[in-house]
């Protein structure tokens, strides 16, 4: 198996980054590096990058910390304001439609008068008995106020929640 590590590589790396290489290292370590591909690669690469790093740090022209801080503050605030005034997303529309469907299904399944009205409308339509049809429509209209109230709650609650959360 190919060797990818040498037990002296940490010593060699330390000597390079501490600027001890090559003058201030043990002659035995120097002799090892001459015959070790791994360690000589470390000397070449680490020596070059470490020296470049020092030069880069002294040459770096970076913005002042306070400037970065205040620009970040302004941007965070602007983004928060944009998020609050953002139009309703497709995800929100989908969630709302799902909630409506669920409530509608619960209502249809649990309401006996709705089932009865639906049944009589069905039979009224199939037999077309005018009197039965009229009475079933009247029963449905009689509950329209209740249904309307339910729809309003379903509409208003998510809207109020959206506005409240969006402003945070």
């Amino acid at each position: 198996m190919r060797h990818v590590e040498c037990r002296f590589e940490e010593d060699v790396l330390s000597a390079v980054v501490q600027s001890r290489w090559p003058e201030r290292v043990d002659p035995q370590l120097q002799a090892h590096v001459e015959g070790c591909g791994i360690c000589s690669d470390i000397v070449a690469v680490a020596g070059t990058l470490d020296a470049d790093h020092d030069e880069m740090l002294s040459a770096a022209v970076i913005p002042e910390a306070g400037r970065i801080w205040w620009q970040a503050q302004l941007r965070a605030r602007r983004e928060a304001a944009e998020a609050a005034s953002a139009p309703i997303t497709w995800a929100q529309v989908a969630a709302f439609a799902s909630a409506m469907g669920l409530i509608g299904a619960c209502f249809g399944a649990s309401s006996t008068w709705f089932q009865a009205a639906l049944g009589s409308i069905k039979s009224g339509v199939s037999k077309f008995e005018l009197a039965a049809f009229v009475s079933s429509v009247a029963a449905a209209v009689g509950h329209a106020a209740f249904a309307l109230g339910l729809v309003l709650i379903v509409l208003l609650v998510p809207t109020a929640l959206y506005i409240a959360l969006g402003r945070d």
Binding site: D50, S58, A65, G66, A76
Partner: protein, 192 residues
């Protein structure tokens, strides 16, 4: 874009007058952290992207994302690693979006020779390094820089790069060998 915002006393006063944005880190802590890390991060971004102007933009964006992350850190090195991870991801995304003119980086024509130095020997070494780095993949440049310029441990590099620490040693071995050859040594140094 964030970089388009102009910083003046007016905007600063305007910002100060309003409620402080919800960053987990306070300004004093941020200033200290920035002073300790910004130059090193800038050097990393310049060497990984090979583009000084892009590095300037990514530096600001990195610190913004870092502040917005709302994370808490158990140590300075953890915080620093997180910063470099954000920078690494931004540099990768920028490359994917072709903010870097792809051909130039891949061909090694545009890797900047930074910093320009009046010292001829330093300039030459800098040019050699730029040429060598241009022949590595951005990911390889990042790993070498973290290991040998930043002095990061294998665990830290793995965290920044999103790799397994156990895979670092063979990867670094291979990339280091490639880099050494590019810097003018024999292509086949041979392992012991």
């Amino acid at each position: 874009m964030f970089r388009d915002a102009t910083y003046t006393d007016l905007t600063r006063t305007e910002a100060a007058g309003e409620e402080t944005a919800a960053f987990v880190m306070d300004e004093e802590t941020f200033r200290g952290f920035y002073e300790r890390t910004a130059r090193g991060l800038w050097a990393y971004l310049v060497r990984v992207t090979g583009d000084r102007a892009l590095a300037d933009d990514l530096l600001q964006e990195t610190f913004y994302r870092f502040l917005r992350a709302a994370a808490t850190y158990e140590s300075e090195s953890h915080r620093r690693n997180s910063l470099f991870r954000i920078a690494t991801n931004l540099a990768r995304d920028a490359r994917r979006r072709s903010l870097i003119r792809a051909g130039s980086i891949l061909m090694g024509e545009r890797i900047e020779n930074v910093p320009s130095s009046v010292d001829a020997a330093v300039s030459e070494r800098n040019a050699d390094l730029s040429r060598a780095l241009a022949n590595l993949k951005p990911r390889e440049r990042a790993m070498l820089w973290l290991a040998y310029a930043e002095g990061a441990s294998h665990e830290e590099i793995a965290g920044v790069m999103g790799l397994r620490a156990s895979s670092l040693r063979p990867m670094l071995f291979r990339i280091r060998k490639k880099m050494a050859a590019l810097l003018g040594r024999k292509p086949e140094g041979g392992a012991r």
